[in-house]
């Protein structure tokens, strides 16, 4: 049952004459009046919770602006990071905003907006652990904690060949690091600063492992939504709003 159904859906993208097709299009920013965003709320300041349930952060502020401009109600689905990417790729949600770096692989599977933030991937270590002294020390054989499906995950696994442990949340990786089960964590600099701020015995090494840029992902071929988002994003960048959001969420 289930396999044939989703095969049908895939075919529908090109042929456009099956009933499944119509059902599909209505989700993607269609007539529902809702704009559904997928994210993973363990990535402060981009997305996190204060009260344990309401997702807030830079990406949420941006998404709210977009929803407002489109006259829709924003609905946030807080899942795993790799789940969020899949959800947008499959069209379960309208878009994913989770500090997503643009990579060629991802571009094959989904469309991205213009980049709205620059991500410096840094290395977090335990103070005085002594194993990793600088970013160059992260090499083959280093035990690295990453969040599953992030660019840090792919970079460390595929490019550096590190021994990678995948986590759902950075908080979990931080615990591992503190217990000397990891040599380091590779993650974005902004959430890294928050992580270090909350954990006295961790520190960020100088310099960055690599840089990439964040954009919002939408389902491949959904140019209508993409154009609307780009318009709003460009406006926010021009008005300096995004920097403002970032400051709001980091200086508390």
């Amino acid at each position: 049952g289930c396999s044939s159904k989703s095969e049908e859906t895939k075919a529908a993208e090109t042929t456009a004459d099956t009933t499944a097709e119509t059902g599909a299009e209505s989700t993607a920013a269609g007539d529902s009046g809702k704009l559904i965003m997928a994210t993973e709320a363990g990535f402060a300041p981009y997305e996190y919770t204060e009260d344990g349930e309401t997702v807030i952060g830079v990406d949420v502020d941006i998404a709210n602006e977009i929803a407002k401009a489109m006259g829709k109600e924003l609905v946030i689905q807080n899942m795993t990071f790799d789940g969020a990417l899949l959800a947008v790729q499959q069209g379960v949600v309208d878009f994913a905003a989770a500090g997503i770096s643009v990579t060629p692989d991802r571009q094959e599977e989904m469309d991205f907006t213009i980049e709205y933030a620059t991500s410096k991937q840094v290395v977090v270590v335990k103070k005085d652990a002594g194993k990793i002294e600088s970013v160059e020390d992260v090499t083959e054989g280093t035990i690295v904690g990453v969040q599953m499906g992030t660019t840090g995950d792919f970079y460390c696994t595929d490019d550096l060949g590190c021994e990678v442990k995948q986590f759902g949340k950075y908080a979990e990786a931080a615990l591992e690091l503190k217990n000397d089960k990891l040599d380091c964590i590779v993650m974005d600099s902004l959430p890294a600063e928050q992580l270090v701020a909350a954990n006295d015995d961790l520190e960020i090494l100088d310099g960055e492992l690599f840089t990439d840029k964040y954009a919002i992902a939408v389902k491949k071929g959904n140019t209508e939504l993409l154009d609307q988002m780009n318009e709003v994003l460009q406006q926010l960048i021009d008005e300096g709003k995004i920097d403002e959001f970032t400051i709001n969420h980091t200086t508390k």
Binding site: T49, V92, A171
Partner: protein
């Protein structure tokens, strides 16, 4: 010792009180209960159909349609019982519902309801078969038809075996649904994980959550055993 206590209290405070976080746990638990309840209801609806197919296929003269239905029911039950509910959850959410505007809660209810149905089918079938065969014989020997005997004599007795087992299935579901956070449902476990992600201190939220499950499970188990005793007594008035 005093320091230790203070720090423990601070951690709990951060996990439960700061920023009104307790609301997240309570709302989360409400979601857990709602999903479990509707899943068990769906499970009963589908499980009842499966049980009737399987029971009649075994106890009534064979015919092709019944054999076919029984065969389908067996495959359905076999697949559901042969694969992890976690994998089923991922499949249902990301694939079956890929093209529909379905809330993750509905997906969770569907997943656990379908999963439960395979187990409920067995509960119902076993509950019916636990009624002494002599009861069917007595009914038939009086001239009652198979269906009449089933409804007036077998079912009222079977229900006393089935209801407590269904209550137990509900309790099992409350625990099993702890994994729904994976598909963006904000249940109580997910609330704990969210709080842990912001405080960087997972232990207190997890213990709070475990305690909530424990209390609810103990209370429900107690109620269930009282209910069960009542049912058992009702024949011995």
């Amino acid at each position: 010792m005093g320091n230790w206590l203070i720090s423990a209290w601070e951690r709990i405070e951060k996990a439960f009180l700061v920023n009104g976080r307790y609301a997240a746990y309570l709302n989360g638990f409400k979601t857990t209960l709602i999903i479990s309840l509707f899943a068990v209801l769906l499970g009963v609806a589908v499980g009842l159909i499966l049980a009737i197919i399987k029971y009649t296929a075994n106890h009534v003269e064979k015919n092709i349609i019944l054999t076919l239905l029984n065969w389908i029911a067996n495959i359905y039950i076999g697949i559901i019982r042969g694969t992890p509910v976690y994998v089923q959850l991922l499949i249902i959410y990301f694939i079956i519902f890929a093209k529909m505007d379905t809330s993750p809660i509905v997906a969770a209810v569907l997943c656990f309801g379908i999963n439960s149905s395979a187990y409920v089918a067995e509960i119902i079938r076993a509950g019916i078969e636990a009624v002494d065969v002599g009861q069917m014989e007595a009914g038939r020997s009086l001239g009652l038809g198979w269906g009449q005997t089933m409804i007036s004599i077998i079912m009222p007795q079977a229900i006393k075996n089935i209801l407590p087992a269904l209550g137990n299935e509900f309790i099992v579901l409350i625990k099993e649904t702890a994994i729904v956070g994976t598909i963006a449902v904000r249940d109580v476990t997910k609330a704990a994980q969210n709080v842990g992600a912001i405080t960087y201190d997972l232990l207190p939220p997890l213990l709070i959550t475990a305690a909530m499950y424990l209390v609810v499970v103990i209370i429900l188990t107690k109620l269930l055993s009282i209910f069960e005793r009542r049912l058992a007594q009702s024949d011995r008035r």
